[in-house]
């Protein structure tokens, strides 16, 4: 063996290891580019064994990861343990992570119970056979809920798969003090509403606090305008792609929205909704259209005066439909198909589907409302009391675009399309966007 080459003068030929290690780095990047497909394809990476659930104990996968809902959820599970005599082990996961992994989570070894959402978002997984049928639970709790809540809990096959815990309305928020000070009145119709936003603008206010960096908030604006202009049935048919997105009635929705856009806070595609809520809190903005679960919650987080906050349902546009509908997203619980202890899990759901259980959950929650009939929740504040009335006044409630349609379609097609619409609401662009949405919808809603 020859002696190893002495290093040449530094710099002259330099760096023997670099080329090889750099190549390796390259190779691994190459692999990384192709890797995600397989990671997802393997499918069962999500669920390791999260504590055994023998005889009388169940595991509960929770996405209530923020401090306030986590605390409320702990109170609920504690009450369920006492009442149903079942030990509950809660596994909390960050809500975004939980939702993104739901697919592999449910196919692996999921918890017995898990937190989820009503609407197509639940029906899709029920249809794929990943959620357990709970008709027998509903035999016992059915009388606690009205027909609308019962309908929300059913899959496409008419069987029950879901037990609701709370919902919340999407409405127009304002500060009472601003309206009193400037002498504004609650607008009932679109014309009143347009007159009000114009008045606010001349008064130096931002008429509508607005943010859509997160993508989903503006889906709510589309929902409400579509519900007001074309009604609930049309909206749901559109969500299920039974009506093409190139329909002229969809153009009407965008045109109506384009009328309002000049009065919405500019630069919304770069703003997170929390910052928009802050403009309302600071009384720089007159109104904001979003869910109580966000706006009222943000007031509480920021330590602002919740008693000054008030809301009204989005004004009437088409007299045929008045103010009959709104988005009122419902959250709740399901039993996974692969549950180890479905019997005990059903006992827990039988307790959760009662008015006292919902009241227990809402003890510390200042923005959501119960769905159970005659739920008496002494801790309701003014916003919650009004929410109950507003939802009850609706003939039908939709869930939200990303819950009423294919979630992938909502995220990857509708969110970018609506962000592009907000940036350029011209008639030409509306037409282009409708064409693009329809072409993509055709590739997604196939079977």
């Amino acid at each position: 063996m020859a002696a190893p080459d002495l290093p040449a003068r530094p710099g002259a030929s330099g760096f023997p290891a670099s080329r090889r290690s750099v190549l390796k780095g390259f190779a691994s990047t190459l692999g990384a580019a192709a890797l995600p497909g397989i990671l997802a394809a393997c499918g069962d990476s999500g669920g390791s064994d999260k504590g055994s659930s023998g005889g009388n104990s169940v595991t509960f996968g929770s996405n209530y990861s923020d401090p306030a809902p986590k605390q409320a959820f702990a109170a609920l599970t504690q009450a369920a343990t006492t009442s149903a005599g079942v030990n509950i082990k809660v596994n909390t996961t960050d809500h975004n992570t939980f939702q993104n992994n739901i697919n592999s989570y449910l196919q692996g070894t999921p918890d017995d119970l898990f937190t989820w959402f009503a609407g197509y978002r639940m029906q899709f997984f029920a249809q794929q056979g990943l959620i357990a049928n709970i008709d027998d639970v509903w035999d016992k709790i059915g009388s606690n809920f009205n027909a609308a809540s019962q309908g929300l809990s059913k899959g496409l096959d008419g069987h029950y798969y879901f037990v609701p815990i709370y919902n919340y309305p999407w409405v127009v928020f304002y500060n009472k003090s601003t309206f009193t000070e400037k002498g504004y009145t609650i607008p009932k119709t679109w014309d009143d509403f347009m007159a009000l936003v114009k008045k606010m603008k001349t008064d130096g206010l931002i008429p509508m606090a607005y943010a859509d960096k997160d993508g989903w908030p503006a889906l709510g604006t589309f929902d409400i305008i579509n519900l007001r202009v074309n009604g609930y049935d049309y909206h749901i048919n559109l969500m299920k792609h039974k009506v093409p997105w190139t329909d002229s009635k969809v153009t009407d929705v965008f045109n109506q929205w384009a009328e309002l856009l000049p009065y919405c806070q500019t630069g919304s595609t770069g703003r997170i909704w929390q910052d928009a809520a802050k403009t309302l809190e600071n009384k720089q903005a007159g109104m904001m259209f979003q869910g109580t679960n966000q706006v009222a919650a943000q007031y509480v987080t920021d330590g602002k005066d919740l008693s000054d906050l008030d809301f009204f349902p989005f004004p009437e546009i088409n007299p045929t439909y008045g103010q009959d509908y709104m988005d009122a997203p419902t959250d709740g619980f399901c039993i996974s198909k692969n549950a180890k202890n479905a019997a005990a899990a059903k006992k827990v759901l039988e307790y959760i589907g009662t008015a006292p259980a919902e009241a227990t959950y809402l003890k510390t929650d200042q923005w959501d409302v119960a769905l159970a009939n005659n739920a008496s929740v002494p801790t309701y504040n003014a916003i919650q009391q009004k929410s109950v009335q507003a939802i009850a006044a609706c003939k039908s409630v939709s869930q939200f675009m990303d819950r009423d349609t294919d979630p992938g379609f909502a995220d990857n097609v509708m969110i970018p399309a609506i962000q592009k619409f907000i940036t350029n609401p011209s008639a030409g662009n509306i037409k282009t966007l409708q064409g693009q949405i329809e072409a993509q919808a055709k590739t997604i809603f196939t079977s």
Partner: protein, 310 residues
């Protein structure tokens, strides 16, 4: 006797070679296995999946053949695909033509032992020590429309004159490229500085004696001597451009904002999530793979051609 002495070393060689074979097989086998399992299998499986339609639910039996339909959808229907290709190209160009030369410039200036060079070095290197996710969050706060640093300092934080750094599709890619350059320049600087420190001072002295000015010394003497480090830097630059993901993901704060589409983001948006389109996401991954192969092939070709005569 003679044959014995002759055959002895041969036998010993054979004995050693058996052990050697085992060691060699083990030492080669492990990397080869890792290579196959972690690189070739996923890559080839992604290619195969790209010709299928599958929502990721149910067994492998649920996978349906879909022909080249995924590629047709990408090229002719998906409005995010071509912008993503364009943005990846812009990203690469900015890195090669601006961020990397800037880092080299920093290195050359600091290498001249100017006053306080250590402080400059630390300041410029600081971003490299932060994770890209953290850099994204820092810059998101800086670019925030109403409460961000830039808009507040220049007084453009009112609703009437707001600059929408991250939301305006004509502006946001450049805003994110500033973030990326902030880090990339520091990274390249450190790599290049290490190279420059290793250049034999005698070469510079010789150049000086021959009457070369600073620019000539750099372009004719120092730069060619640094060829190995230049290749490393070029490769690093290309890698960093193609894997552009983190900053865009953080700054989009949800599904990617119009104007920031990147192939890597589209891959994950279709593959990770509640409703997955494994086939379509894989097709986009394959496109990214093919694009990556171009610079890789050029690099390998150049590299092996250079080494052959030696």
């Amino acid at each position: 006797m003679v044959t014995a002495t002759r055959s002895r070393p041969r036998r010993r060689l054979r004995q050693l070679s058996r052990r050697d074979k085992l060691v060699a097989a083990l030492l080669l086998g492990i990397p080869v296995l890792a290579d196959v399992v972690f690189i070739w299998f996923p890559a080839l499986a992604s290619v195969a999946l790209s010709f299928t339609k599958w929502n990721g639910i149910g067994g492998l039996g649920q996978i349906q053949g879909y022909g080249v339909e995924n590629y047709r959808i990408a090229a002719s229907i998906d409005p995010q695909f071509w912008p993503a290709v364009e943005h990846n190209a812009i990203w690469l160009l900015v890195f090669v033509c601006f961020a990397t030369p800037l880092g080299m410039l920093f290195a050359v200036i600091i290498d001249r032992n100017i006053k306080g060079s250590r402080i400059y070095q630390s300041v410029l290197f600081l971003p490299v020590m932060l994770s890209l996710a953290l850099i994204g969050i820092i810059w998101e706060l800086i670019y925030s429309p109403n409460y961000g640093l830039i808009n507040t300092v220049i007084g453009h934080n009112h609703d009437s004159n707001l600059i929408n750094w991250l939301g305006n599709p004509k502006l946001n890619l450049w805003a994110v490229l500033v973030e990326a350059t902030w880090r990339q320049a520091g990274y390249v600087m450190v790599l290049y500085l290490a190279g420059l420190k290793a250049v034999d001072p005698a070469l510079r002295e010789a150049a000086l004696i021959d009457g070369a000015n600073a620019w000539q010394t750099f372009t004719r003497v120092v730069f060619p001597v640094l060829k190995p480090i230049n290749i490393v830097i070029l490769v690093v630059t290309v890698i960093e451009s193609l894997r552009a993901y983190d900053l865009v993901y953080i700054n989009s704060h949800g599904p990617v904002l119009p104007g920031l589409e990147m192939l890597s983001i589209l891959v994950t948006q279709n593959i990770v999530g509640e409703e997955t389109r494994i086939g379509y996401g894989s097709a986009l991954g394959v496109v990214l793979l093919v694009i990556s192969l171009v610079p890789i092939s050029i690099f390998l070709y150049q590299n092996f051609r250079r080494e052959e005569p030696v």
